[in-house]
Amino acid sequence: MQVPPLVQELIQATNEEAVLWRPEDLMLYEYDALSSRRPPEAVVFPATTQQVAAVVKVAARHHCPVIPRGAGTGLSGGAVALEGGVVVSLARMNQILEIDLENQRARVQPGVVNQDLSLAVADAGYYYAPDPSSQKACTLGGNVAENSGGPHTLAYGVTTNHVLGLEVVLPDGCVIRTGARYWDRPGYDLTGFIVGSEGTLGIVTEIVVRLMRLPEAVKTLLAIYDSVADATATVAAITAHGITPAALEMMDGLMLRAIEAATHAGYPLDAAAVLLIELEGLREAVEEEADSITAVCGAHRARQVRVARRAEERELLWRGRKNAFGAIGRLTPSFYVQDGVIPRTRLPQMLDYIAGVERRYGLRIGNVFHAGDGNLHPLIMFDSRDAQQVRHAVKAAEEIMGKCVELGGSITGEHGVGIEKNELMPLIFSEEDLAVMRKLKQVFNPQNLLNPGKVLPSGKMCGEVRVQVSLGS
């Protein structure tokens, strides 16, 4: 097979081992955790910032889209080569460059796996706080692109609250450094603007993150309920009482049973819902908060509040939660996970609404989500071989999104917009809001060669059709 000129140049910019281009090699790179689209023309694995810059320049010469990619665990299609092009995988740039404990900083390459950073500093008593459920696989570069969250971001904030500085390759191949190793550097906060921009402004090649001290005490509670409404009312009451747990997660009965079958985490099989609550901090504060939370749960008819006694028990409770999306394979051939956010006071209302949607479309919907920040993850179960079910799943998801917006919420709390929700952006932003975003995107990405078709609505295809195409494939 003849090596295409684009590929030849990419090899020159890197080396032979760093470029995949044969169709059979590209197949792995036509999808991420949302959907599968089409294979890129090539996948490049640069080893240095200079190689990233060289690759970007080659692509620009060929007027070819560039799609940055981490571990491909994204849930909104951000790493999918929508219009073909060159996928730039940062997987080989996976070095922790520097750990500076006195300043509570680490400098890392984008391909470092989220959990590996926490493991690297754990013995010294530190960790990196944002903990997406995919943290065993997802990369910090991907986290920066998506501004990822996770259960423990309730108390400590999401990725953007932990990133101080970046090295970024711009679409023209220029390399800039934004931010610093300290907060408050004078100038526009380009770091804060780039975090969460889903790979549409630049390719991040180095990240300065904040490390945090591991807490002295951790307590994990499992509150068990016979009704979903009581569980959601508890969440609202905990917020209103001003208690901010480190994590406050909810799982409904359907999900509990699926997870229990898969993980044997010790969840009660007959419950309607549970809250998984984690408290961290000073021993005295944790004990007091545990008492107040137990009282709030009791006042909202929790059947039982269990406290994990040992680290293994805690670990098991969390393993169940973090493997929830995997466990659902026991229930359904396909599922569509949503990522809406609502004000926490509206949780009872919202869960009622979701139950109504479930009945209306005859599709099962499981709920496992970050209750403490009102970030829902309804899992709509369907069979992708049944065209009507696919249509209904998409309709159901849209109605749930619409309700989130109506209640004053957002269409995505942590999974990103990507190609999944870009056509839904007008639900929460006016044409004028979007026009400013477009203009600012152009400042960084004037040719629209970097990750085209993501975040902003294209107006080319209505969202429903796009999502169906991806779910149905």
């Binding site: 300290y182 550097r185 906060d189 921009s197 004000p343 926490r344 919420g409 957002s410 999974h415």
Partner: protein, 442 residues
């Protein structure tokens, strides 16, 4: 030119009404920035009208500086030109308040003190103690990225702002973020506006995350004999499980100005404020008494912290004509920097006062000297060089006009200046918003 400007002013009056445009000398003089006096003061009653004023100003090529009480207006370089002071004084309403959800949206002109007072009725607060204290405005604090010692525990506005509305020079009112605590839909324009010092757009509404006020607080004050001792203390605190709300290292002059008694001949005092229940505070009592053998309360309370928050008033009241500086540094370099600053000041026979938020990497300094302006400026530059060599930066928050001619407010920009300029160009193509006041001449 004068007639063109008069015509422009008349157009502004047609947007907000004549009563909201002041052109008398006293009103304009009161809004002067670094000696530059605007031609008029315009009061915007709403975000929409603020946007129309900006659009009109852009069409007429009138330079605008947004303001409220001017608590931070002296920070920054002198404007290249200045025609319109855009006051947000009338925009002080609460637009959305969901106390059970811990979220509030307020207009940018609301005073910080009024916001906190409003929230205190439900036992809530925004845990931020910005310079300027109660008189600072919500929008001004956001535009300046202002923060104080409370950031040790709670972070800064960067971490607390959930959404924002701003008026652009194209005459649009643009929204970013939302009213929920977690949201990644679209580009985060609020990050750009926070700390942009009024050069991109005018912040008109801010949505904030709220926190419950802690049930009790307690401040521990102790004498610190040397910077080495201060360094050990800071390390020990950051490595401990304790999470106090605030910690500052003060020289004895500043401690005295802030109303604290002195132990005797100490060089520095450290104040550590813990928050929580009685049981939690007892833990602090036990731990800190071991670390700070000479600690006692010295009666340091909320009012001392409040005077410290208004440090420019504190210092300038005592040392007229002092320069007020802020260094931002890696935490580990803070004590070293204070030591170097002391040496430089001593060599130039200048007096130095400091508030070191050493556990978060911010050191505020006051520098007073009977030096000629250019020599004081070069002393500031030497301190800046040291901050930069230690991996940080230094900005001039206040200084006498004749000194300012010799020293840039922000210091050297980085290799992202080009992108910052292009950002500015995208937001404000005519360059009418606070022209010349920001980093790199933006």
């Amino acid at each position: 030119m004068a007639t063109a400007t008069q015509a422009g002013v008349a157009k502004l009056a047609s947007i907000v009404g004549e009563a909201r445009v002041l052109t008398d000398a006293a009103s304009c003089q009161a809004c002067a920035v670094h000696g530059r006096v605007p031609r008029c003061v315009v009061f915007a009653p709403s975000a929409g009208q603020a946007a129309q004023v900006l659009q009109c100003a852009a069409e007429q090529d009138l330079a605008v500086i947004p303001r409220r009480n001017g608590t931070k207006i002296e920070t920054g370089n002198p404007p290249r030109r200045y025609d319109v002071a855009l006051s947000l004084k009338e925009m002080n309403q609460v637009w959305y308040y969901e106390p059970d959800d811990l979220v509030i949206s307020v207009e940018a002109g609301m005073k910080w003190g009024d916001l906190q007072h409003f929230l205190s009725r439900r036992g809530l607060w925004v845990p931020l103690d910005p310079p300027g204290g109660d008189k600072a405005s919500v929008g001004g604090c956001a535009a300046a990225g202002a923060s104080g010692p409370l950031r040790l525990r709670y972070g800064t506005l960067r971490d607390m702002v959930l959404g924002m509305t701003m008026a652009t020079t194209e005459g649009k009112v643009v929204k970013t973020g939302g009213r929920v605590v977690k949201n990644v839909a679209g580009y985060d324009l609020a990050k750009l506006l926070i700390g942009s010092w009024g050069t991109l757009g005018v912040i008109t509404e801010v949505t904030l995350k709220l926190f419950p006020r802690p049930p009790q607080t307690r401040t521990y004050a102790a004498a610190v004999a040397s910077l080495e001792e201060a360094r050990q203390l800071r390390r020990r605190l950051l490595e401990s499980p304790l999470a106090p709300q605030r910690m500052v290292l003060l020289d004895s002059t500043t401690a005295r100005l802030a109303g604290a008694a002195l132990f005797g001949d100490e060089r520095f005092q450290v104040w550590i404020e813990a928050a929580g229940s009685e049981r939690v505070l007892r833990r602090y009592d036990a731990e800190l008494s071991g670390w700070l053998p000479k600690a006692h309360s010295l009666g340091v309370n909320e009012s001392n912290w409040a005077s410290l928050a208004d440090y420019p008033a504190l210092w300038l009241g005592a040392w007229r004509g002092a320069a007020v500086l802020k260094a931002s540094l890696p935490v580990a370099a803070t004590e070293t920097f204070i030591g170097q600053a002391e040496e430089e000041a001593r060599a130039s026979e200048a007096r130095l006062a400091c508030i070191g938020m050493t556990a978060v990497g911010v050191v505020r300094l006051a520098l007073a000297a009977s030096l000629p302006p250019d020599r004081l400026a070069s002393l500031i530059e030497r301190l800046r060089t040291q901050a930069v060599q230690l991996g940080g930066s230094l900005i001039v928050e206040r200084c006498p006009a004749d000194v300012r001619e010799h020293v840039d407010a922000w210091g050297p920009p980085g290799d992202d200046l080009q992108m910052m300029r292009r950002m500015k160009q995208a937001w404000d193509p005519k360059g009418i918003l606070s022209p010349g006041r920001f980093v790199g001449g933006i």
